[in-house]
Symmetry: C2
Subunit: 273 residues, 2 copies
C-alpha cells in the first residue's frame, strides 16, 4: 500500500505528520534541549525516527524555518537560530534633535542621523538619497490629493549591497520652497535632522506621531534586506506636526524585526499637589 496514510504515529491531537515532527523539534528548541547553534537531525534521521517520507520531514523543517526558529542551507544540517541583538530606535531622538538645532554646524555634524538610527558607522555603509517632486496621491492620505510634495528617499546599504536602513518622507513643497537648499539632494546628509531643516524655514515641530506595525516581507524585500525566512518587517509611519498643528512631514520607514527594536518613552506630568 504505497499511499496508505494511516501511519501508526498519527494521533487525534497531532493530525498531520509534518506538524507532529515540527512541533516535536520546536518543543526541543523551546525547552533548551536544542540550544542556539546546535544542529538538527538530518532529513534521513528524521525519516528513520518518525517513519515518515522524506518530503514530510522536509516540510517539517520548512515550518520551523518559517517560524524563525532555525536556519537551513544547502549541504549543511539545519541549525537552531540564536536571538540577534537588536538595534534600538528610540523616540528620545526626537527630543535630542530638537535640542541640537541651535548648536553650530560643526557640533551638529559630530554624530549624524545615520549613526543615531542605525548604530552603524559610515565607513561600512553607503547612503543613497533621492529627491523627487511628486503630487499627493493615495500613498500619502495625510495630504490633500494633488498637493505638490518633495519626496525624499534614503537608502543605506552595506558593503555587500545589502540594505541596512530605508525610509521615504514627503513634505509639502509650499512649506520649504523658501529655502532652495532644502530642495537640493546634494546637501545630504544634512547636518542635523529633519527638524533642523524645518527650523531654517521658520517651522517648529511640536509633536511627532509614530505608528508601528509589522508584516511579512515579499521575496524581493527579503532579498534586499538579506532577511532570513520567518523574519518580519517592522513598518513605521511617522507624522510631524508643527506648532500651528499642520502636518508638515510624513515618513515611512522599514526595519528587519530580528535586528531592530523600537523604543518609545512617554514621560508623564507630575501630579499637581
Amino acid at each position: 500500500m504505497a499511499t496508505d496514510q494511516s501511519a501508526p504515529e498519527r494521533t487525534p491531537a497531532e493530525q498531520h505528520g509534518y506538524i507532529q515532527i515540527a512541533d516535536d523539534l520546536r518543543l526541543q528548541i523551546q525547552n533548551g534541549e536544542l540550544a542556539a547553534g546546535d544542529e538538527l537531525p538530518s532529513l534521513s534521521e528524521l525519516v528513520q525516527k518518525y517513519g515518515a517520507g522524506q518530503q514530510t520531514a522536509r516540510r517539517a523543517i520548512s515550518v520551523l524555518q518559517a517560524q524563525g526558529l532555525i536556519t537551513s542551507s544547502q549541504g549543511k544540517r539545519p541549525v537552531v537560530r540564536g536571538s540577534r541583538t537588536r538595534v534600538t530606535r528610540s523616540n528620545r531622538q526626537h527630543h535630542l534633535e530638537k535640542e541640537r538645532i541651535r548648536l553650530p554646524e560643526e557640533e551638529r555634524r559630530v554624530q549624524g542621523p545615520l549613526e543615531d538610527t542605525t548604530g552603524i558607522s559610515l565607513h561600512d555603509a553607503t547612503l543613497n538619497v533621492t529627491y523627487r517632486e511628486v503630487v499627493a496621491d493615495e500613498s500619502t492620505p495625510e495630504f490633500e490629493t494633488g498637493t505638490p510634495l518633495l519626496r525624499r528617499e534614503y537608502e543605506t546599504t552595506g558593503k555587500r549591497g545589502n540594505r541596512i536602513a530605508w525610509s521615504v518622507s514627503w513634505i509639502p513643497l509650499a512649506f520649504i520652497s523658501s529655502n532652495p537648499d532644502l530642495l537640493d539632494s546634494s546637501n545630504e546628509p544634512w547636518p542635523g535632522s529633519t527638524q533642523h531643516q524645518f527650523s531654517t524655514v521658520g517651522i517648529e515641530i511640536a509633536e511627532v506621531v509614530d505608528t508601528i506595525t509589522a508584516r511579512a516581507p515579499d521575496t524581493v524585500e527579503a532579498a534586499r534586506w538579506g532577511m532570513s525566512p520567518g523574519e518580519p518587517l517592522l513598518v513605521g509611519r511617522d507624522l510631524m506636526r508643527d506648532t500651528q498643528d499642520r502636518v508638515v512631514c510624513v515618513s515611512l520607514s522599514q526595519y528587519p524585526a530580528d535586528s531592530t527594536q523600537m523604543e518609545f518613552v512617554t514621560p508623564l506630568p507630575k501630579a499637581d499637589q
Copy 2:
C-alpha cells in the same frame, strides 16, 4: 526525460520554478490586476499555464501564503487577502489614565481598560485574570534575581475561544503589599489602570517606556490567536518608572500585527524664545 529540470521557462534571473510562479502572481496582486477578494487560478490552471508539476504550483501558492498576500483553504481556490483594519493602541492612554486617577470610582468604571486597548466591548469577550507570586528570573531581567514578584496574566478571549488580547505584568511585591486588595485577583477588572493601582500605595508613575518588536508566531500561538499564516506577532515590553526612578512594573504584551497598530505620540517642548 521525467526529471529534466531545464524547462524552457527558466531564465537566469528566475532560477526556480516555484519562485517564478509565485513572483508572477505576486506582481499581479501588487499591481492590482488581482484585487483583494479575487480568486487566484486553480492549481491545475497554474500547472497548465506554467508547464510545471502540481507540487511546484502548490509551493508557489504556499510562498504567497507565507508572505501574507493570500489565504487558501481546502475545497476553495486561493483568495487575495485584503488589508484588515487595525485597532490602534496608543501611548496617549498613559496620559489619560493618569488624569483619570482622581475621578470617583463610578466615573472611572465608565470605560474600562479593555475597551480602551482592544476596541472590543465586554459583551463579546471574556477576561481571564491569573495572579501568582513568583520570584524574578531570567524572564524579568529588570529585577534582581530572586526578588519576590506578583505576576498578573490577562487573557481576553472571544466567543469562539479565540484570543483577542494577552499580557503579563510583574510587580515587586514589596511595592504593593501594603494594600492587600492589590494582591487579590477577584478585584479584577480593577476600576482604572495599573497607574491607579499604584496610586493606592503612594507610588506615582513618572515615565513609561515601551519597546516594540515583532516575530513570527509558532504553531500553538498562531492557533490560539486564530492568525493566518504569514501574519507576524507584535511584541511589546513595557516598563514603568516611578518618580523615584525605580522600575515598579514590567509587562509583556502581544498582538497580531494584521489587526493591530501601535501609536506613539511624542510631544516636543516649545522652543524657549
